[in-house]
Symmetry: C2
Subunit: 448 residues, 2 copies
């Protein structure tokens, strides 16, 4: 590992070279490296928190003059209750995950003494760009080592001191392991992102860990594949046969349990025939939680007729753009539609292909919705907020992807893997399998 | 399907809309569409061959003045022995493949009455850009329909008449099936490729079927993921313990059985200690097949001392650039190296991560080579030319990928699929799984 003044291309080239060694290490060698990182960080707690305090002091000053948001200051703080312990525990959690390297996923006997095998292997070099939260360094370094990938880490400038302190510790810890120098590259110099994004020769995958603006900028600035979602515009379709109480609970959880999350609800589609029977219960529960309802004309009329006057007063008229907006706040757009076909069409057109839900008592209708909606997650009678790697049982989460290739939805370690094909033969040549009397035939016997 | 004067963005938008319907069709509906395409083409044989004859006449004229290569004219000819029959049989072969849609690849009980499922589904809209060979239309249309993907097909201008004739037939055939209008878009207008490559909003994957120049141009011109390889620089490492006769046979097959193919051999790495014992046998066999050997100084000295004088005269001095060159001809670069480590390092640096081979009697050494070489195919004692979807037993081949994500190596139907996560619940909300005494815990019980 190096904490470098190296140029981006030197760092990337070194990471590529190291990735070829890292890919050959045993699971125990990679796990030992995680143990070393964990012990190193535990021992250096005071130094790291002192460095973090410097970052915090600068950030608080910037916040006091309005140059930085308070929420960013909060994300910087490694001393916040439980954060340090969670960071350390996260490293051990990753260590305990099943080894993703070297799994045989296909085995075919092509002919006698000629066997084909498909084996999982690391992708190569990951570029991870993240914003303020310094604990992400430890998390990402762990995931990279566990999966056998090299990583180039580029942190935000507000966390520079924390970043350098953690990096030094990780770096020293790794020198005592089999992980090669250069496998984890830390880039602290500014303004190198455009240069890094240009290095598709060395970098195989970019993982942005930050806000939508960062992700959108990166997606539009590189030829390297990007794992992540730029938007999370999730919808719920509330169908007439849904149970009113269940529906209200799921909608409230989806909207209010963490409004700034990408898997939070932004648009509620209500079936016209359910305006009277189902919408008011849900609306009351939402307003009670402080949600501003942005209603289309039909839903507004229905709610005005059914809500207490003080609540009805708080309704807002929806504009067209509301149905294409990821609010990330306690706002919800409500649109009246005729039925499931229109719901599917609306979601496929206006959604961000992240996570969408149907609330209904009809299994047939729910299955139609889930087959037809083109999103990474399609749920029946469950909150949008289940879209999460930990909740899915992946043990960790690299990110949530709205890509249509490689990895979709919450991405665990599997998303950092690819495969290679091995053939073990004894001198076979393809010309033997041509035409003619003496030609051999492929057996193509599936062994796994 | 439409054979359009539609603008690229209209065509792509229509393809996207159709993809949402196509994704919901049953396997039998998709297979019926393939039957209809097959019958339609079989019935229209004479018309299509007449259209093809027009293309051929123009092409032959262009070839006679040197404006077009003879090999392109040959690729255009649908009347060539067996080509028409192969095209028709290919459609039925695709129809008989296992349905790739709707396979459940993961099932987890998150909690009582809350089940997570990962299900394969089509990617969405494919853009396929191909050069002269008109039979590719039928092949690609079949693969798209079978996999539930929409496809936008852009053919080369030399095959315009054949393309239109085949397209009309496919179009008419599909109108009688459940495949929606717009699922297969045929674009014949010129100069639309840059516009299509800009439509990442509608197009999910680009598949270029043509020469390296086409692929390289496309890879550098779009944000849409590209499935394909720009280069196929395959190497063989001939290690001292290899059997001389076996080695010569594999090397000759790899180099000469189809020199223009991407999976043909371009660089031979010979272990220094095997220069006398192994290289001459292989070199003699290669020269007998007309291969020009471009030797580094050490290999040249060894061959001059061991080959008959008339053969030794034909040796050429290698230049540095030869070891980075995909010859696609009967040329082979030969480099002398110290051992397996140097072979691995040379291949990882100079190769194109396509397919590389070690010839050796040592299993340990072969396993080290296969683990360390960062290529889609790594073989022990087998020809590079086994890198092929049919030979791998995939039933069909969409292309060969040197990408590091999604699909690597020969790509079958699986490469046209992605997945979605379905959750079936009964009103669960994430807030129930928080902290506190009444909080529920995830069960994460793996059911599949």
């Amino acid at each position: 590992m190096s904490l470098t003044n190296a140029s981006p291309s030197e760092a990337a080239k070194a990471a590529k070279g190291a990735s070829h060694v890292l890919a050959t290490l045993s699971a125990s060698a990679r796990n030992d490296a995680l143990t070393a990182i964990h012990s190193g960080l535990a021992a250096a707690r005071d130094d790291i928190l002192a460095a973090n305090a410097c970052d915090l002091e600068l950030a608080r000053k910037a916040a006091s003059t309005g140059d930085l948001s308070q929420s960013l200051v909060a994300r910087l703080d490694l001393g916040k209750k439980g954060k340090w312990e969670d960071m350390l525990k996260g490293i051990l959690d990753v260590r305990e995950l099943e080894d993703p390297v070297g799994k045989v996923t296909l085995r075919t006997k092509l002919d006698d003494g000629l066997e084909l095998e498909r084996v999982t292997c690391p992708i190569g070099v990951l570029l991870i760009i993240f914003e303020a939260r310094p604990e992400v360094i430890a998390n990402i370094a762990s995931l990279a080592v566990k999966s056998g990938n090299s990583a180039i880490l580029k942190g935000g400038k507000e966390s520079t001191e924390s970043f350098i302190a953690i990096s030094k510790v990780i770096s020293e810890a790794l020198t005592k392991t089999q992980v090669p120098n250069g496998a984890i590259q830390l880039v602290t110099t500014r303004d190198v992102i455009p240069q890094l994004l240009d290095l598709d020769r060395y970098i195989d995958l970019v993982i942005p860990r930050g806000g939508n603006e960062l992700v959108r900028y990166i997606k539009s600035s590189t030829k390297i594949p990007v794992l992540g979602h730029a938007d999370g515009l999730c919808s719920i379709y509330l169908e007439q046969s849904a149970d009113p109480k269940m529906a209200a609970e799921v909608i409230v959880d989806s909207k209010t349990s963490y409004p700034a999350a990408c898997n939070s609800l932004e648009t509620l589609l209500i079936q016209e025939s359910a305006l009277q029977a189902l919408l008011p219960t849900a609306a009351e529960a939402l307003i009670a939680k402080g949600v501003t309802l942005r209603c289309d004309p039909k839903s507004k009329v229905a709610l005005e007729a059914n809500l207490p006057a003080d609540m009805a007063k708080m309704l807002v008229d929806a504009t067209d753009v509301d149905f294409d907006t990821e609010f990330l706040s306690l706002d919800l757009a409500i649109k009246t539609i005729s039925g499931v076909e229109e719901a599917i069409s609306h979601i496929n057109t206006h959604g961000s292909h992240h996570t969408d839900v149907v609330l209904s008592s009809s299994q047939d209708l729910a299955e139609q919705f889930m087959t037809s909606v083109d999103s990474a997650g399609v749920y029946w009678n469950a909150s949008t907020r289940f879209a999460d790697g930990m909740r899915y049982g992946f043990g960790t989460e690299v990110g949530i992807s709205t890509n249509k290739i490689h990895s979709r939805g919450p991405v665990g370690l599997e998303g950092l893997m690819i495969y290679k094909y091995k053939i073990r033969g004894c001198g076979q040549v393809t010309a033997s399998y041509g035409e003619g009397e003496e030609a051999r035939s492929y057996k193509h016997e599936r062994l796994l």
